[in-house]
């Protein structure tokens, strides 16, 4: 018998849905204070329920059917929520980080118009995200999936007065939609072949019907991967995330760092049973992760908009998660998802403090020397940056990324090349994040900060900073004396990595090399940026480096490529097809009405005798017809 608190599971997504609805309908009338309280407390309620459930967790999976949604012939889909170790972890992380960011936004968004609308959209987002993570069938997951996509669009284009924001939102929506199309096709295929969309039965039937490497499994896995790639902004669909930074900073922190972009990772982890049957697709996952983490890392190194650096960093870190998934280290990916949520959200929140303090200045080369005036932002950047880059032993990122790096090497599906790539990515990470820190917080002050954060901004950041340090200890590797608690906790839901392949280097060795990479990277950037800037100048003087810089700055030319190859032809075709048959039909109806109007109008000429003549003629006609 399950604990009674489990029955409150359905409230976790429903409370934010309800509060979002109230805010949408009555937000303006409620006023800012009430909207802020309602928006934040609804997320707090979800978090408390998640926490209570986690505390009362007894290890057995639990399903709660909220509503019989669709029942058409053999197609039965319920709105059902599934609770297992993975969903416990995900809902805890999502609701906690969301709550902190909501509290932060109550102060940060104070000067923006549409304050209540913001909280409505954010609540709707959290509700959709929780639906996504708790869904027990793929159709409900798709509902949450689309819901987060919608909220992402709404929030990127939040300040819709500026057309550029709307265009960025549209770009995000279209690119993720491309992935979603593949996702939906995958759902069709899965339902067609296996007869159900409920996740657990589906995985069991897949294992029963399909052997490893079956064509249907591969195709379905690839299609679902297409959806995940779109939503998580991986190669080749990563072009929307840097532009999505047009939205408010809390949005970037919540949606584009901590939660929505991790939905793809969650999907693949949830469907791990399918991916175990599709080794080609699984290898593609690893390959995509590998390529993305390197490409995005290079791009992050060349950016000068503070949020774009963090955006590329997000793309790169999710590449790590995909890499982990691809080598079968499912719980390592989730571990990194959780720690990444903490430090990346913190990085974004701190960048929001800096941006706000300098009156919406985004260019890091116009900032400088802020570490004395904005100490909170400085220390948060340092702590989160160290966690991101993997400062050994005392940061969460070290453990989660180190685990992935190790698994890339030692897992049965791992290879040395993946390991080297992961280490290179870590090197790049250290480079770009400390470049950011040194440029913004050291050197001479170029712009003086004018707005300073209040308590509503400070406390969430402090909490996240603490977690960025400490969260690593939940999955300390055995080799370092830990108990691998998270992996064991998730083991019923996500199988542990099978026996490691024999390698020359042990886990300790891998961690040591990762630590060395970190220190080398930080020292190098310290050298180039602070100690001897002339080195940077000589480096950048060469034509090759300049070209490389431009190439990496433009996201490896992918925007240009998509524009030429996809966008322009589509627009050209649409323009050519403007006045086609369908249009003619509808225009024809209009023309017909116009013609009838002009014709019939002539009968209304005001001449009584003509009217009398028509009446007489009509009556005679009726009489003749009657006589017939």
């Amino acid at each position: 018998m399950h604990p009674a608190i489990y029955n409150a599971l359905w409230l976790e997504p429903v409370i934010p849905f309800a509060s979002s609805f109230v805010l949408l309908v009555a937000g303006r009338k409620m006023g800012r204070r009430a909207a802020a309280w309602l928006g934040s407390c609804s997320i707090l309620a979800s978090f408390l329920i998640a926490l209570a459930i986690a505390v009362a967790w007894d290890g057995a999976p639990f399903t709660q059917t909220v509503w019989h949604w669709i029942a058409v012939g053999s197609f039965q889909v319920d709105m059902g929520l599934y609770l297992d170790a993975l969903s416990v972890v995900m809902t805890l992380a999502v609701s906690f980080v969301s709550f902190l960011i909501h509290v932060y936004s109550t102060e940060h968004m104070r000067e923006s118009e549409g304050y209540e609308r913001f909280f409505a959209y954010m609540n709707l987002f959290v509700a959709s995200m929780l639906t996504l993570t708790l869904a027990n069938n793929l159709l409900l997951l798709l509902l949450g999936w689309e819901g987060v996509g919608l909220c992402s669009y709404l929030l990127i284009g939040f300040w819709y007065g500026d057309e550029a924001n709307g265009l960025a939102g549209r770009k995000a929506f279209i690119v993720t939609r491309t992935g979603d199309t593949a996702f939906i096709l995958g759902l069709f295929l899965l339902f067609n072949q296996l007869g159900t969309l409920d996740i657990q039965p589906l995985l069991q039937r897949a294992a029963a019907h399909w052997h490893v490497g079956a064509a249907a499994a591969e195709v379905a896995a690839f299609l679902l991967l297409g959806g995940a790639v779109g939503k998580s902004a991986q190669l080749p669909l990563q072009t929307w995330l840097p532009d999505a930074m047009a939205g408010p900073t809390p949005t970037s922190a919540l949606i584009h760092a901590a939660t929505m972009v991790t939905a793809g990772v969650y999907l693949i982890a949830r469907m791990h049973g399918l991916y175990e049957l599709a080794p080609a697709a699984l290898f593609a996952v690893a390959l995509i992760g590998f390529a993305t983490l390197l490409l995005a890392g290079c791009s992050a190194l060349t950016q000068h908009d503070i949020k774009r650096i963090l955006a590329y960093s997000t793309v790169s870190q999710i590449g790590y998660m995909f890499l982990a998934l691809g080598v079968g280290a499912w719980s390592a990916a989730i571990f990194h998802l959780v720690t990444h949520a903490f430090f990346k959200a913190l990085l974004f929140l701190a960048s929001g403090v800096v941006i706000h303090a300098l009156n919406d200045e985004h260019d890091i080369f116009r900032m400088g020397g802020l570490r004395h005036k904005l100490p909170l932002a400085f220390w948060c950047f340092v702590l989160a940056g160290c966690s991101l880059a993997g400062l050994p032993l005392i940061t969460a990122g070290f453990y989660s990324k180190g685990l992935i790096i190790w698994q890339a090497y030692s897992s049965p599906l791992g290879t040395t090349w993946l390991w080297i790539g992961a280490l290179t990515g870590a090197f790049l990470t250290a480079l770009y994040i400390f470049r950011l820190i040194f440029v913004v917080f050291y050197g001479s002050e170029k712009l003086a900060p004018q707005h300073f954060p209040g308590p509503a901004v400070q406390w969430p950041m402090v909490v996240l900073a603490f977690l960025s340090m400490v969260a690593g200890f939940i999955d300390l590797p055995v080799a370092l004396g830990g108990g691998e608690h998270l992996s064991r906790f998730l083991a019923p839901a996500l199988p542990l990595v099978a026996q490691a392949r024999p390698t020359a280097l042990g886990e300790i060795g891998s961690e040591v090399i990762a630590a060395i990479v970190f220190f080398v990277g930080v020292y190098l950037i310290y050298l180039f940026q602070l100690q001897r800037p002339s080195l940077t100048e000589t480096l950048m003087a060469g034509g090759f480096t300049q070209g490389l810089h431009r190439y990496w700055y433009s996201d490896w030319g992918m925007d240009w490529l998509y524009d030429r190859a996809l966008v322009r032809p589509t627009i050209a075709v649409a323009r050519a097809d403007q006045h086609d048959v369908v249009d003619l039909f509808f225009a024809g109806i209009g023309a017909l009405c116009g013609g009838l109007y002009r014709g019939l109008r002539l009968t209304q000429n005001g001449q009584v005798r003509r009217y009398a003549a028509w009446i007489a003629a009509g009556a005679i006609l009726l009489l003749v017809v009657g006589l017939w």
């Binding site: 003549a613 003629a617 005679i620 009489l623 003749v624």
Partner: protein, 178 residues
Amino acid sequence: MPVLFGFAAIIAIVATVMAISRLNAVHALLYLVPSLLAVAVAIYALGAPYLAALEVIIYAGAIMVLFVFVTMMLNLGEASKRQEQQWQPGRGWIGPTILAGLLFAAFLVSLLRAGPPTAAHYVGPHDVGLALMSTYVLGVELASMLLMGAAVAAYHLGVAVVGKQQKAAETAAKVGTP
């Protein structure tokens, strides 16, 4: 009886044709009166003496008088002859004749499809009165209300005309010519 009817019919038709085709309005009315009287004779020949009398009294007696009044008031006799000449239909008779012909053809067809001709029974005033006051008494009341309404309406429409004329005369007298 049939001879009387035929005679009256011919007079009615000829008189009506003349009535609708005269340019002078007074002439048209003067042709219409014998048409109505001939129709009254035809009604009598059909065995309805009471209504023949009513036709003469009301139709020819009251309604025609109204027409004559208005014609004289609007001075539509000789004075408007030129105007009427402008308005004379001429080729405008073609369309109405065609329509009228079509209608008459339809009537003929329906008449031909009717059963064998029956004789005209005599229905006296006594029977008519009985029917009016028993079966159709409601209709009688409604007819009286209708007449009342017509009288009130005609008064209001008329007094507006006369009133306006009077007011125009008064204001012209008061203000004088500026």
